[in-house]
């Protein structure tokens, strides 16, 4: 009887296919198409370029004033201030979201109700990599989600259930490693980076096989003895082995050049440089890596021999534009050191480096591509260790050729002190005195000159990210909890909504659903969806 039943099932299968067909989830080709499908947002920045610029047109400068919240999701987690830094991924009406303390959810994008929730059982001796128990989101491929953890693992989950498919350790959390970024999925690789530059660690960028979790390659951001770049360090394997260079923010990808672009963090110790004379490559640099093998193709160092904790962990923004009357492939970055940079992304040639804050550190980048330092800290205050901007995503509007960045104006005095190198204990190497009254601003920069086109000021140094739309809108968040819309061309403030908690590191996501453009913003312990009235 049972056999007969099986036979019947087999016979019926072809007829039943439409009912039971497995949904395979997005393929690599779908991620490659970026924003082509308006109902999807499949990777951290929406596409591989890091521009965070949506082609959607329904919400415009004219009607954004009518934007209304349609639901709020509460995480139930307890992180104060810094809570929700993730960019939700969107596919087929479902949001895939990570939260602080390695919670995660699949959420119905129409109602804000969860399909499943996940919480990792974390050890009680985490260091958080001297940061906070945050996470910036999933990577996604097919039915698999990918998430890094505070105890420095990489997980693969089934997007339909939240079940763990595989779990690999990236590094030993007990000596200061942690992981918080959203994995970058390209074809047959899951690319991740690591936190830990405030500890005696050595940073890296890794590629893993999506199906098995097998590690395919590793790029060490601090060279080994004798390797290229080691000449910028003391000839001491111990110093190299604890040289820092975290890679804790998402990179971007150029499929044509097959290059990954990634920002590298501070050398260790952060403030005490006497034990590591030299430029300390590849700290505070952008590196371009061959996606297949992880080989270094080129690098550019923004802050040689950093002693101010000015990590370069920013989203690289890839743009094709006319540059001095020639079409060029560009990569842009507004850096924690207070300069906005434009480089040729094929070879790393520096094309522009101009200040975007009132930093007194350096006023220009010399012809040799190195900063002309006017103030090493002895001439008054410098930008604080959180920098002139930070990891919060910037955005780029291609028609306006404007780069939008959240700027921080701060004033700090650094006092270096040689640290003790104890595994698992932070080695900042000194202290910083920060003036309490800083300020912030959303700034629109002309990419060809670095000149300020417009700004909107905030009463405190701000960590909110930026998203733009082709309709001519900028969505930004501030440190007082406002989610704000601006006219991208003029900077006119058009709308705001008080979310109730700082918008910290997060930037808006936008997509179409049932013919309505939705906009999402995480804040504190909430994720709120907005749309125009029906």
């Amino acid at each position: 009887m049972r056999n007969a039943g099986r036979l019947l099932s087999c016979l019926m299968l072809p007829l039943a296919m439409p009912l039971f067909a497995q949904q395979d989830g997005p393929a690599y080709e779908d991620i490659l198409r970026g924003f082509d499908d308006p109902e999807r947002w499949l990777t951290y920045s929406g596409d591989y370029s890091g521009r965070r610029h949506s082609p959607l047109m329904q919400i415009t400068p004219e009607n954004v004033g009518a934007l209304r919240p349609i639901w709020t999701f509460q995480t139930g987690t307890t992180t104060r201030g810094r809570g929700f830094e993730a960019t939700p991924l969107v596919d087929d009406g479902v949001l895939y979201v990570t939260g602080s303390n390695n919670y995660a959810w699949a959420i119905d994008a129409r109602s804000g109700r969860a399909f499943w929730s996940y919480r990792r059982d974390l050890p009680d001796d985490l260091t958080y990599g001297a940061s906070a128990p945050v996470n910036r989101g999933f990577g996604m491929l097919g039915n698999k989600l990918f998430m890094v953890t505070l105890d420095a693992h990489l997980l693969s989950m089934d997007r339909r259930t939240g079940d763990i498919l595989w779990d690999v350790q990236l590094a030993d959390y007990r000596i200061g490693y942690a992981a918080t970024l959203a994995p970058l999925v390209i074809d047959d690789k899951v690319i991740v980076g690591i936190s830990g530059g405030e500890y005696a660690t050595r940073g890296f960028i890794d590629a893993y096989a999506p199906v098995t979790g097998e590690r395919l390659w590793r790029f060490n951001t601090i060279p080994g003895p004798g390797e290229p770049g080691s000449e910028t360090w003391p000839d001491d394997p111990e110093v190299l082995a604890r040289g820092g260079g975290g890679t804790w923010m998402n990179g971007s990808y150029d499929p044509e050049l097959n290059l990954i672009y990634w920002g590298v963090g501070n050398p260790n110790p952060d403030y005490f440089g006497d034990s590591r004379p030299g430029d300390n490559l590849y700290s505070n640099s952008i590196v371009a890596l061959d996606a297949d093998r992880g080989d270094l193709r080129w690098h550019y160092q923004f802050t040689p021999h950093d002693i101010n904790d000015w990590d370069s962990n920013h989203v690289p923004v890839l743009v094709d534009a006319e540059w001095r009357s020639e079409p060029r492939k560009l990569v842009m970055m507004a850096n924690r050191n207070g300069f906005f940079y434009v480089l040729d992304r094929t070879d790393g040639e520096l094309l522009l480096g101009e200040p975007f804050t009132g930093t007194t550190w350096a006023r220009e980048i010399g012809p040799d591509g190195r900063p002309v330092i006017l103030n090493d800290g002895s001439q008054g205050c410098l930008p604080d260790p959180w920098g002139s901007t930070n990891f919060m995503p910037p955005s780029y509007h291609p028609e306006l050729e404007l780069f939008y960045v959240t700027a921080r104006e701060t004033c700090a005095t650094y006092v270096p002190e040689e640290p003790a190198y104890t595994p698992g204990q932070a080695t900042f190497g000194g202290v910083v005195f920060i003036e309490p009254d800083g300020s912030g601003a959303l700034r629109a920069l002309d990419i060809h000159t670095g000149e300020l086109r417009w700004e909107f000021t905030y009463p405190s140094p701000t960590f909110g990210g930026v998203t733009t739309t082709a309709s001519g809108l900028v969505f930004a968040g501030d440190h007082e909890g406002n989610f704000i819309a601006f006219d991208a061309a003029t900077g006119e403030n058009l709308w705001h909504y008080q979310t109730g908690s700082r918008i910290w590191g997060a930037a808006a996501t936008t997509f179409m659903l049932d013919g309505r453009q939705h906009v999402l913003i995480p804040s504190g312990t909430t994720l709120t969806a907005f749309a125009l009235p029906e």
């Binding site: 009680d124 985490l126 906070a132 204990q425 900042f428």
Partner: protein, 261 residues
């Protein structure tokens, strides 16, 4: 400083581990007030705590890291409590656990105790009864203390001697504009309709301002209805010179505040 810290840790390891076990059970810091332990604890503080809580322990507002100099005045905060928070962190929050040895933790606590701005062991020998009368006559229009009725323009002064030293309090009375805490900074808001409202700024963002006004009410303004916000350098609190309150009267006032609960 690193060498000093090393000596301190060595000293502790050689001389004091025997005391600690019994002391821990009672929650007493075996190194409380010991200069070498405080030095060693200071080095640990700079290495492990200062990035978030500031080199002076006064917190960093923009990252929501609290002021540690004020915590000692809170009920239930003692050496044992601080020891356990540093060791275990605050689960789910940004405050991580710290894998320091117990001797190091106690030395860190010994240092953190020196950050307390409170009166510590200061003696308040003034006449609290007279202080109460002086408070009612001079201060209560804007401040409250204990069960005394009072105003809401200035901070509540109940138990303030546990949070501020006598010298700092006397300085605040003689020179109120010398140090004005956030939440009590004076502003005058001029509206588009021509109204001018003075008060203390409780909160603000890019779109709004929240004040307690001079006539002690809550008042909020949307920035689109505001023409100008003047941030005043002078505190709304009047200066009390020797002629207004002499040093003996100040001592009486502090004695009253010290007893207020």
């Amino acid at each position: 400083m690193f060498r000093v810290a090393g000596i301190g840790i060595l000293f502790a390891a050689l001389c004091l581990p025997l005391v600690w076990q019994g002391a821990a059970a009672q929650g007493v810091n075996p190194y409380a007030g010991q200069p070498r332990a405080v030095l060693a604890g200071g080095a640990l503080f700079r290495a492990q705590c200062a990035t978030c809580h500031g080199a002076d322990g006064k917190g960093i507002l923009s990252i929501d890291a609290p002021d540690l100099s004020l915590m000692w005045a809170r009920d239930g905060v003692n050496d044992e409590y601080v020891f356990s928070v540093v060791r275990d962190g605050i689960p789910g929050s940004i405050m991580p656990p710290h894998g320091l040895r117990e001797t190091e933790l106690w030395m860190l606590v010994a240092f953190m105790a020196t950050l307390a701005e409170g009166g510590g062991d200061a003696e308040f020998s003034g006449d609290a009864g007279n202080g109460r009368r002086l408070f009612a006559a001079n201060c209560s229009e804007c401040h409250r203390a204990g069960a005394e009725a009072g105003g809401v323009l200035g901070p509540v002064l109940t138990g303030v001697t546990r949070r501020r030293s006598p010298e700092a309090l006397m300085q605040s009375i003689r020179e109120p504009s010398g140090r004005i805490e956030r939440g009590f900074r004076p502003v005058t808001v001029e509206t588009g309709a021509g109204e001018a409202v003075t008060g203390v700024l409780k909160n603000e963002d890019a779109f709004s301002l929240q004040l307690v006004t001079e006539d002690q009410d809550l008042r909020a303004f949307g920035r689109d209805a505001v023409r100008q916000v003047a941030r005043l350098g002078e505190s709304l609190m009047p200066v009390f010179g020797e002629a207004d309150l002499d040093d003996d009267e100040l001592a009486d006032l502090l004695a009253f505040l010290h007893g207020s609960q």
